[in-house]
Amino acid sequence: MERIENVLEVKNISAFYGPIRAIRDVCLEIHENEIVGLVGANGAGKSTLMKAILGIRKCSTGSVVFMGRDITGTSTPEIVSSGIAYVPEGGGVFPFMTILENLQLGAVHYKGDINERLAETFERFPLLKKRQQQQAGTLSGGQRQIVAIGRALMSRPKLIMFDEPSLGLAPKVVEELFRLILDLKEEGYTILLSEQNARKTLQHAGRAYVFRTGSVILHGASAELLDNPEVKQAYLGG
């Protein structure tokens, strides 16, 4: 009866990016409280999959089931309010807004007490509290990721999707970022992590899916994938 434990279940979805079929027949499942990695080159379809889950890209075939509910074709606001948060590539902070405003925008659909969520976010990231009136556009890349993660947590999501969080960050910052993602898992969050940094992802995720030109070519436990000769050659530098 594993079905019921699935937080997210993607069945045979295809989605187009303009005239191009960006993902083809993708199946994926995410269990409660695990980190699932999406590994693959730039343009392999990882982002499109996440956008399809969020309802931003329409699926031409297949279905997406979140917490036992079919959300295929549902509007993005509804999907977000049902408990999926997204951390966009590069953080996607609003540059001309303060950190505080950026955080508040993460709770657009949150029904409970926003101030309570803010207090919790500030407790986790004291830096954000100190700089809450600073414009987000003045922050460094790593700090922007922190704002974006804080923003995603504002809505108390069930599932957090990270799109290339380590892109363009210094190795030390990447280290901290992955530690934070592990912490979030320890706290009970379920995480979908898309990364070009395959080694780091496979070291942190329990399971992973390997993408190539819009399809899943391999999937399984990260430990096995790390030992897989094909993965080693293509994504881990031999």
Binding site: L54, I56, S75, T76, P77, I79, V80, S81, Y86, P88, G92, F94, P95, F96, M97, E101, Q104, L105, G106, V108, H109, R151
Partner: protein, 290 residues
Amino acid sequence: MEAFISYLISGIQLGVLYGIVTIGFNLLILVTGILNFAYSNLLVLSMYAGWVILGATDSIMIAAIGTVLSGVLINAVLTPLFLPFIKKHMHLEALVISIGISLISVEIMSHWLNLGLPIAFPRSIQMSDSAIRFGLASIGIGKLITLLLGILLLFVFFQFLYKTKRGRILRAVTQDSEVAEMLGISIPKTMFFSFALGGLLAGIVAILMAVSLGSASSELGDNITLMCLAILFLAGIGNLKGGLICAIFVGTVEGMVMGYLPGDWTKAFAFSVILAVLLFKPEGIFGTQH
């Protein structure tokens, strides 16, 4: 000196009105990416609507409410015409649509309403009989009141934009609509809202113009469009605060020229200043920022 103060107040009053209309233009540019060429013509259409209601009901209160409502309604009703073009980023096509709407509204005003003659509002709402006199100069109470109401409207608008959840959502969409969508903000709803909000501003400005000008004609909208677009480019496209500052500046220049130079040189003078600035700063004085 007295004359100078009188011209200055008139100029600032004009500038504040330009400023609000420029914000209306900018709001749509920021949220939807389109330049709604019909915006000021529809504003004048609301003045006509107010005039018709005033004639029918004889109630200033009902006419005022009707003017504001007509502003919101006209703009909201036209939104679906633009949405398909906005979605496909067909901004030039949307501009053509808006030019079409502006031509239609001008023809309606110049053929159907009041036999095409300019409309005049009763002297009582202009309050032109009571004026504050100082020395040889005087300033109409109507002008002063519209100036103060205009400033109040701007204050409320910016409070809304910067202090409320709706305002925050609106600004988020102007800065990065893709990310805003990922956070679960409905883009079509926000666009619809920005049209209606622009209509609300236009409706209120229509009242302020009825009070301060006392009349309207079918050409008035084109004149406003011309000035406000020039102000918009002078400030930098999509810059709300910059647009306001430039509008007050241009309005003041216009007021001074109107007062001190014989003949109608106001537009020539204002546009010379704008051209001179754009020669040196093509991206506008303040640039595109939020």
